[in-house]
Subunit: 442 residues, 2 copies
């Protein structure tokens, strides 16, 4: 009931965004491309509610994560009690909840994708928003490594279609666990990977010092050295790691899994640089096997896609022993990469192709008829809704970058023809409706 | 960080829904159809954030509406203070906020559509949810009645494509205001329309009694009688109303607007039943001209699309005098109509066309290669990720209603062929990869 006149300077909450027409066209292009690839692999879309019970969300993202949950005030009498609902923080926990809640209806292995916004009460900064879209694809209910191989193919195909050059970084949590095991520091998995992660930036000596500082024995650090100095092809590195980890069953399993994935991808002719990367340590709290990360080769922006294998995602909701693997495409960063590399195709713009402009009410009435016929032929057509000054009508076409303008005055109306103007070349021609269709579609 | 094992029976907040694969396919079909029509008329998509400042939302939906806003608890130290943010309640107020906030960047008349969820803390009941999608299309920045005519064409085209028979009910707030004026009860506009609205159900005498009860004079009720007994075609009714309202400038304007809209639609050959309906009184708090409502002819479900002309939507945010007109498609009800009428086409299902099943690891490796080639040819293909019992693999195809299954055993592998089974007929045939493409595409 909009009848008050409250003067408010309108704005939106910090960390949130409006998406205008051009941003939406670009975002739809990215999502449509990704969805088309998912469909080719038999993944089906689901959606879950923005609000989840707070008990579904709490304790799933660590103490820090709990603080970043947006909580919904209860309505009515319970307004001052602890909130019972929160906004989803990611798509992974709602997916686990969905699988457990609907397990009787689902076919396993269950292949789903999900593209929806998530909300985090993070401090907003450049590239970090309080509302952003996630785009997740997962197979759950099988431990077959062919699922990892399929996800690699999906990464290959999505970025091939988008025209963006990327490299896929591959690791395996079992290899990291094996390293910790053979150097006698099983409880220091996170410390070890955090230190290894800095190798490129600070060099071997500083990493060694950090490992000591983090409580590793001199002997353990000594045993780490061959790991830190690995070189060669993926196969060569894996062979060396295999030797170093021969005493660890977990480590051997990790090497074997990675070999299987790499060999299968190679046999399929996957045309995507894949790099074995022991410094890749994302999601160690839940990933149990392969870990993936995709980086753009020509844009400095960090990871644009990532994921991994988890053996017990649904355990938190009472359904243990269901293994799955998934990846998430980072829409905001992909958006920026395509913009920087000028990779959005013209065809992505599905804006108006032709604007009809008129000199008077009778011409406007006929323009409505012309537009109807042109739309029936599949064109995207607007009629300027008032026969106002031609300058204003043309300015509208110009500002909206509409490529064709049809001008209808008294002569055109009498001849039942339209003066069609090509806005790029400035050329114009008096033609029939059928000829308009041919010209605009050309 | 999913490492705790909290046993929770998972569920979702009341009034919210999960959408599974089949629901999503149907919903996407509806939204894609509507979006394709919007694009043909040059409407561009925008999106606004789920959260708006509470000051943007409060006071816009009446006292009842304020109570139904979902409020977001502030984070950090302000947690116990009054919430500063709320979830959007509809798409209209965020649209008005968007237009005012971005007015320098926009071209007017601004033509936008928006398809996003909204949230209301309503008591959930059959067909009423706390989270549901709205699908709004508006032209703002012109008072040309050609915009009303375009919206009528959009209604015609959307339901033509969906195959649903509908009737469009048309009214005009100025006609209702004119009636109130000529019977000398200008302050009783809402009372009059509420009573008129019951005419079909309770009859003329009961309506007259109610009008008296609501404070109209006997004279005013007497003057109402010709209005209550209107009959004939839209043109005949309009002619009679025109006479009755000749003393009211507003009333005459309403009649004239309605005549213009109906005549223009008729001249264009709009193939949609349109009924002048004085009982249509939705949105009288903000609509200032035409009022629309669309009902399905073969399904009892109420209004499935509605809207109208508003002369001052952006006034609440400090930008007065901008006229617009818009309609909203009710996705949930359209969903139910199509389901009841069995109108979802087969082609809407973009699920897997072919599942490859295997008898062993070597066969599985080759199946991955076959799938890759079939996908490159455009097919939607799954590989069952484990060479487990054939019964389980076939059961999966059956349950997911995948129409074709390719069986690969040792003989097939040796011959580099696939035993292709048509799941509907049960027929199977040993064929090459190229022949699979032909068979599945046929």
């Amino acid at each position: 009931m909009i009848d008050d006149y409250i003067m408010t300077k309108p704005s939106i909450p910090k960390g949130t965004r409006d998406f205008g027409a051009i941003e939406m066209a670009r975002r739809n292009y990215i999502f449509d491309t990704i969805k088309a690839v998912f469909a080719q692999y038999g993944f089906q879309q689901i959606q879950t509610p923005a609000m989840e019970n707070i008990s579904t969300l709490m304790g799933k993202y660590g103490e820090e994560g709990d603080k970043l949950l947006f909580r919904i005030q209860n309505s009515g009498e319970k307004a001052n009690e602890a909130p019972e609902k929160g906004l989803r923080y990611d798509l992974t926990v709602p997916f686990a909840r969905y699988v457990v809640q609907h397990r009787e209806e689902l076919q396993f292995p269950f292949r789903r994708f999900q593209i929806q916004p998530v909300w985090r009460a993070d401090r907003p900064q450049k590239g970090r928003y309080r509302e952003f879209y996630q785009c997740d694809v997962d197979v759950i209910g099988t431990d077959s490594l062919m699922s990892e191989v399929e996800l690699i193919q999906i990464v290959e195909e999505v970025y091939r279609r988008l025209g963006l050059r990327v490299c896929l970084h591959l690791n395996n949590r079992k290899i990291l666990a094996g390293i910790a095991e053979v150097i006698g520091a099983e409880d220091k998995l996170i410390d070890i990977t955090t230190a290894i992660d800095k190798l490129d930036k600070i060099g071997t000596e500083a990493v060694n010092a950090e490992l000591i500082e983090r409580g590793l024995s001199a002997e353990a650090v000594e045993k780490m050295q061959p790991i830190l100095s690995l070189s060669g092809s993926n196969e060569e590195k894996l062979a060396k790691i295999g030797q170093l980890l021969s005493a660890s069953e977990t480590g051997r399993k990790g090497v074997e899994e990675t070999q299987t994935i790499l060999q299968a991808a190679a046999a399929l002719g996957v045309n995507l640089p894949v790099e074995l990367d022991l410094t890749l340590a994302r999601g160690l709290n839940y990933y149990t096997g392969a870990i993936f990360e995709v980086k753009a080769l020509d844009v400095q922006i960090g990871s644009i896609t990532g994921g991994g294998r988890y053996d017990n995602l649904t355990g938190i909701f009472g359904l243990p022993g269901v293994s799955g693997v998934g990846i998430s495409f980072g829409a905001d960063r992909i958006y920026d990469c395509l913009l920087e590399q000028n990779l959005y195709p013209e065809s992505m713009l599905t804006g108006t192709q032709l604007l009809l402009t008129t000199f008077g009410q009778e011409e406007l009435n006929w323009a409505m008829q012309v537009a109807r016929e042109l739309r029936q032929a599949g064109l995207r057509v607007e009629v300027y809704p008032e026969p106002c000054k031609m300058k204003r009508q043309m300015g509208y076409a110009d500002a909206k970058q509409i490529p064709w303008v049809g001008i209808i005055g008294g002569d055109e109306l009498a001849a039942k023809k339209v003066m069609l103007k090509n806005m790029a070349s400035g050329e114009q021609e008096l033609i029939s409706i059928e000829d308009i269709i041919r010209s605009v579609n050309r």
